[in-house]
């Protein structure tokens, strides 16, 4: 039956109104935007890079290089460990496939050799036979390392891109070893390319405890020349949350503010630290989130490893400063200032504290972000100037408007003002739903996406065409107005659903395989088909049912 319960009618109207509400911010002028709450006004469709202008990079991390470097370190450690355990060997060599082979002088010492290798790193796996030992990391460890490298690269890229003052960059992992970087609105990519592989400044400093305690939390008025004031990362994040305006000022200040200026002007929590660098980030080999042994309480901790040079200076500094705090500074923020518990010699140490596992992960990531772990090569680049984007927006808009008007014209001409009007109304609601859907999903509208919208317009009147043509047939077969409309609607329904679902298959697969602007096309097309299912099966039905009840026509002008 065509009849629709009243509550369903109301539900449909509310749903459509809601869609209109969510799509509305897209067409509001900026002056009105300021009067509205932020969460609502920002609920807009993002323009893709091809429309707003900007740069898109696909970067590939050189994971082989990372592995090779790591295995070179492993081979050094294995050599010294073997000597220590007095295992005689002919050669320890790094193979091109990322393995290390150890050639022993005496086959009988094989168990001792394997023990030595295990002592270097428990995640190493020894294989091979006889006097030859083949050493490699377990697959699990390799996967972990790969993920770690990419995560770390993303974190560093974010810092680098933020420094260039761009807003809303997109930095995401793509596949196993790639990073997608999208920077809207950027004109010249030279600076960005130079920054991509830049090393962050990670340094270890002693905290000037005398100054910190004497001032009792307040900022010291005068600093000795050996000391500088640096805000803590937590403090800066609190500032960002509590006083976003001040944070924006700091970000956009030109010339950039020194850490001390930030402390004095905006009063985030700061620490006085000695300017002398104890160890630099380039000497930090690795840092990872882990847990204490069960006997010690099993708390989440951060463990770190220095190279030989770093280990020596760190050992000397910690021995002399037990009980004092050691500030770890990253790009003008102190990410952590743990208290030195004991002299840390032997190149590796741990940071304990009241951490959650998530915090230790984050801290370890920050510690590692001194240097990019792997070279990033640009393997795809697309840059669109803002004026070119504006041209594309113009062309897309004109095409969309002309296409829509033409389709509406044909529907009116073929089915008359009433039924043509129903069809066009349904098409309009469909378009509204797509726009609302894209706003809520935060999807990007690209130029091909606009083409998808135009296609949606052309295809979304199809369901009405199917229904109307069926009604015409039923009418010709001698049915009454109500009978023809009901039968026409019901019989057309199966075809409407099947044809939409099959077309949707193409849309979804295109989304899965496509990238960039094409994804935008797949999004708008697929959303269009989905919403079309709603307008065709429910909305049109409501229109027809309401109209029938209201006018009770005996004759259909179709």
């Amino acid at each position: 039956m065509l009849h629709l319960p009243r509550w369903q009618t109301i539900a449909i109207i509310i749903f459509t109104a809601l869609a209109g509400f969510f799509a509305l911010p897209n067409i509001l002028p900026d002056s009105v935007d300021d009067l509205l709450p932020k969460w609502y006004a920002q609920n807009r469709i993002n323009l893709g890079l091809d429309l707003r202008g900007g740069a898109h990079f696909l970067l590939e991390a050189d994971l082989r290089g990372v592995l090779n470097e790591r295995m070179t370190n492993v081979s050094d450690s294995v050599r010294s460990e073997l000597r220590k355990k007095q295992v005689a060997f002919k050669e320890v060599a790094v193979e091109p496939n990322g393995h290390v082979t150890v050639e022993l002088r005496d086959e009988a010492q094989r168990p001792a050799a394997i023990e030595a290798i295990r002592a270097v790193d428990p995640s190493l796996v020894a294989a091979g036979s006889g006097a030859k030992v083949d050493v490699a990391f377990s697959d699990q460890e390799l996967t972990r390392k790969r993920k770690e490298v990419i995560d770390q690269s993303i974190e560093i890229l974010r810092r680098r891109v933020d420094e260039t003052g761009t807003i809303e960059p997109t930095i995401v992992r793509e596949g196993d070893d790639r990073i997608l970087l999208q920077v809207p609105g950027i004109k010249d990519t030279t600076e960005l390319k130079s920054k991509i592989n830049q090393t962050a400044k990670l340094t270890f400093h002693l905290v000037n405890e005398d100054l910190a305690t004497s001032s009792g939390g307040a900022l010291p008025a005068v600093l000795p020349p050996t000391t500088s004031l640096v805000p803590t990362r937590e403090g800066m994040q609190a500032l960002k949350a509590g006083n976003p305006k001040a944070f924006d000022e700091i970000q956009s200040a030109n010339p950039r503010l020194s850490p001390e200026q930030i402390c004095r002007r905006y009063h985030p929590p700061c620490l006085p630290i000695f300017k002398r660098v104890i160890v630099g980030g380039e000497d930090l080999d690795d840092a990872k989130a882990t847990f204490e042994s069960q006997q010690n309480g099993g708390r989440p901790i951060i463990s770190f490893t220095f190279n030989a040079a770093g280990g020596r200076s760190f050992c000397a500094a910690t021995r002399q400063n037990i009980g004092k705090r050691l500030a770890i500074q990253l790009d003008n923020e102190i990410i952590s200032a743990p208290v030195v518990q004991s002299a840390i010699c032997g190149g590796s140490g741990i940071i304990t504290g009241a951490f959650t596992p998530q915090q230790t992960q984050e801290q370890a990531l920050l510690l590692r972000s001194g240097a990019l772990p792997a070279t990033l090569t640009i393997i795809e680049e697309r840059t669109v100037g803002a004026d070119l984007g504006a041209d594309a927006i113009h062309a897309g808009t004109v095409a969309a408007v002309v296409g829509t008007v033409l389709v509406m014209f044909f529907m009116f001409g073929t089915y008359g003002p009433l039924f043509g009007g129903f069809a066009n109304l349904a098409m309009g609601v469909n378009l509204l739903l797509v726009l609302a859907g894209m706003s809520v999903l935060g999807a990007s509208l690209t130029l091909p996406g606009i083409a998808g919208l135009v296609l949606t317009v052309g295809m979304s009147v199809d369901s009405n065409v199917l229904i109307y043509e069926r009604v015409r047939e039923e009418k010709a077969n001698g049915r009454s107005a109500l009978g023809a409309l009901t039968a026409g609607y019901e019989r057309a329904l199966a075809a409407v659903i099947d044809s939409n679902l099959t077309a949707l298959i193409a849309g979804v697969l295109l989304f899965g395989f496509g990238s960039g602007p094409i994804r935008g096309f797949a999004t708008s097309l697929s959303l269009g088909l989905l919403t079309h299912l709603f307008t065709a099966t429910i909305f049109t039905r409501m229109l027809l049912a309401t109209w029938m009840r209201w006018r009770r026509p005996t004759e259909l002008t179709l």
């Binding site: 592989n197 990019l372 840059t383 669109v384 062309a395 529907m411 003002p417 199917l466 395989f513």
Partner: protein, 391 residues
């Protein structure tokens, strides 16, 4: 009422579509064979998405673009094949440069760019044979940050950590031949930029390295095949297997002949073209479903009628809908062709063709296929009897 509704197609047409099926099949076979032959003989005009390479959109700073002059300038740069086309309006052009090899020539280009952009004292030379290494020399001593900045002038991104910490005059950058090939795309962009920047504004640049190009091609082919297979399987579940095969054949027909249009008109076959191909498959199946749906219904209703008659009847009954929907999609796409701008041009033209061929194929290819697969009304009769027996 202001105006009365119109019947675009008169009601109760009795066109003998299936009677002409041999002609249609002959024509389609010819078009498809020619399309495939065209791909092998003339090749597809692959855009940089699939082949790798560089595309630069430029606009003349003054007046209209002088294509011949620009062709001479860019052709003499020694960066391989360069093709030009007017893009959008008279003052804009698209410069397409073939994918660059990571050879010694590329390093020589980098050397020239370095000398032009940074200074005469600089040089770039290839490293040892068989590797992709490159050696940079500077007129004065530089630290790691200085080197990083310097090499980025020729589009090279190097890990600062891997650069010498002490001040040096030369630095060797370790690269594999593959990494160098990726970098050489960047070098070629700079070469073109240097040659044309006093007369033209660069409005957009795209470069796709050899690796991504090969992958996009691979995933594109998989996307098309997966889509066709998924739709055919859906049809098989919703209808009979014969319908699934019929739909598959008609989609293949549309995809191949669309590729033929790309060969014939020398349109750019890029990622958007791939989107067009898949959308055409989706559109074509949309049309086919409507006809098939009616075929199924009529087979149940007119059990005495032969298959060819049922098909003719169904096609005629749905004809007005088919024509009407084709027109609405056609006009929408036409708006894209005319107003959508140069980026969407290939896509829109292909879609326009797709609307026509999709409509045609759902009538002649999909339905004619059913005739040859011996889909008989008896099957439905058995089905219905089975259903009755159960009840």
């Amino acid at each position: 009422m202001l105006w009365k509704p119109h019947h675009i197609v008169p009601a109760h047409t009795k066109i003998n579509f299936m009677g002409h099926r041999l002609w249609a099949l002959g024509l389609s076979t010819l078009v498809n064979v020619l399309s495939l032959a065209g791909v092998f003989v003339f090749g597809l005009n692959f855009g940089i998405d699939f082949e790798g390479g560089i595309a630069i959109q430029v606009r003349a700073k003054q007046g209209t673009i002088q294509l011949d002059e620009l062709r001479n300038t860019t052709g003499a740069l020694g960066i391989g094949e360069v093709s030009l086309q007017e893009f959008g309006d008279k003052s804009s052009a698209l410069i397409r440069v073939q994918r660059q090899q990571g050879n010694a020539e590329c390093v020589a280009h980098a050397d020239a760019v370095m000398k032009r952009r940074v200074g005469n004292g600089w040089s770039v030379k290839p490293g040892a044979e068989g590797t992709g290494d490159v050696v940079f020399s500077a007129p004065s001593q530089l630290d790691a940050g200085g080197w990083r900045d310097a090499v980025s002038r020729v589009g090279l991104t190097v890990l600062e950590r891997e650069l010498p910490r002490a001040n040096t005059n030369t630095v060797k950058i370790d690269m594999t031949p593959e990494q160098r090939a990726e970098w050489c795309q960047q070098v070629a962009i700079k070469v073109v930029d240097d040659a044309i920047s006093n007369q033209y504004d660069v409005r957009g640049t795209e470069s796709v390295g050899p690796k991504v190009g090969a992958e996009l091609m691979h995933s594109g082919i998989i996307a098309v095949l997966a889509t066709l297979a998924a739709i055919a399987i859906y049809m098989w579940f919703r209808f009979e297997w014969q319908f699934g095969i019929g739909a598959l054949i008609s989609m293949l027909h549309d995809v191949i002949s669309t590729i033929g249009i790309f060969v014939l008109l020398r349109l750019d076959f890029s990622l958007t073209a791939l989107a067009a191909v898949l959308t055409i498959a989706g559109y074509s199946i949309n049309d086919t479903v409507v006809v098939f749906d009616r075929v199924r219904e009529n087979m149940r209703r007119y059990k005495k009628l032969g298959l060819v008659d049922v098909l003719n009847l169904s096609i005629n009954e749905t004809l007005s809908r088919t024509v009407m929907t084709s027109i609405t999609v056609f006009v929408a796409v036409l708006a894209l062709v005319i107003f959508g701008g140069p980026v969407l041009y290939s896509f829109s033209v292909a879609m326009l063709w797709g609307v026509i061929v999709g409509t045609y194929s759902s009538i002649w290819i999909a339905c004619a296929g059913l005739v040859y697969m011996k889909l008989r009304p008896e099957q439905f009769r058995r089905e219905e009897e089975g259903a009755k027996a159960k009840a």
